[in-house]
Symmetry: C2
Subunit: 114 residues, 2 copies
Amino acid sequence: MVSRTVYRMQTQTQNAFRALADPTRRDIVQMLAAQDMTIAQLTDQFEMTRAAVKKHLTVLSDGGLITVEARGRERINRLEPKGMAPVLDWLSYFDQFWDDRLNNLKEAIERNKK
Amino acid sequence: MVSRTVYRMQTQTQNAFRALADPTRRDIVQMLAAQDMTIAQLTDQFEMTRAAVKKHLTVLSDGGLITVEARGRERINRLEPKGMAPVLDWLSYFDQFWDDRLNNLKEAIERNKK
DNA sequence: TCAATGAGATACCAAATGGTATCACGAACG
DNA sequence: CGTTCGTGATACCATTTGGTATCTCATTGA
């Protein structure tokens, strides 16, 4: 074991990977890719309470993967494409290891950023 | 809440995303990308016991991200590029979505400039 | 005005997670 | 041989995680 102190703050990369680690949250991301949804609408699609879905949405928000817009008493949850960037960046570090599927994906996003 | 039972087996996608959710495990992946390593070598790089590193390696192995080859009394841990496929596949599902959204974003910015 | 509706906050719980300490075991080497 | 070295396995612990129940608050609409 090395003796230097390895402190590790919560980076956006960590929060994004953590957000994607749960199958329910990945399902939510897929649903929000189809259309923006309120918590109530999302809850209809799962076998869990609104409170549980809300927790998942908080984690997704911490990860930068979604944004929320208040509209009256409703909250519109929306996918935030930019939030995926840290994940894609980390994965692209291994270009020489896995195939170029990722490269294509990342290049598409880079193109559109400009 | 929908009433149908949503059982969810441990898929390779889930195991891979779960493996990548921990910062120590992502560090291990990066180190193994540089060179194959034994547990002892990896443990030298972290402030934790060999047992803890071993647990992380087990999770990485479950996720299909590494393979282990016995050589004498040593175990060589090696990165398995194929294991990343489910992750890349899942992410590429949103290729078109990100493309479109980032395009819209770009266009909105361009409009506001004028 | 006031009841219904959509959502946030909090307390609480069981299980999973990330870590340690410790023991066991086969391979390497004097 | 016997001992040391690299590793695996297990028991145990504290914290995090994913979930429920419940209460509150603000908006909506008859």
